[in-house]
Amino acid sequence: MMIYLTALATGAMFGAGLVVSGMTDPANIQGFLDLATAFGPSDDGRHCGCAAVFPVGAAAVE
């Protein structure tokens, strides 16, 4: 039973993280991958970049 509770909770946490960080929005992902405008005033890429960096650090803690 415990295994299902933790699976449900971690799934919900992961999904919420994706939405909160804006990674469910295709425009954010395209902005992150668009080198032509990466050095322009667009903030989308940087936001997405930050969201991409932090999970690496958090997972490294384990």
């Binding site: 933790t6 992961f14 919420a16 994706l18 939405v19 909160v20 936001h47 930050c50 997972a59 384990e62």
Partner: protein, 133 residues
Amino acid sequence: MIATSIFGGLLIGLASVCLMLFQGRIAGISSIVYRAIFQLKFESWALTFVIGLVLGPLLVAALNGPAAPVFDLAWWQVALGGLLVGFGSRLGSGCTSGHGVCGISRGSARSVVATLTFMVTGVITVFIMGMVL
């Protein structure tokens, strides 16, 4: 906002760590979805995880208002994109979550190669799409 992006990233990282801690599994979303569909008999928790994956964003929407992704495309273009994502992530043994978040953090050479491959391919694709569209 940059703060909310960081907060979202922290949630994803924390969820990945929890999954490893409690389930002893890598939070590879494409692989978990595959198990939820094709290996339900042995990996029944995978379906519960996928249900949570849908419930999480619904909870955020209930608290914070709907934030549905905007696809400025025809339905068949979205379907084709989804098909390519599914095919490619099975072929590459994982997607951005398994390789990019968990794999690189654990020092997996295969994940570094996979992540570099799909990042570079993604940049090239966006560049070409920008010239065509």
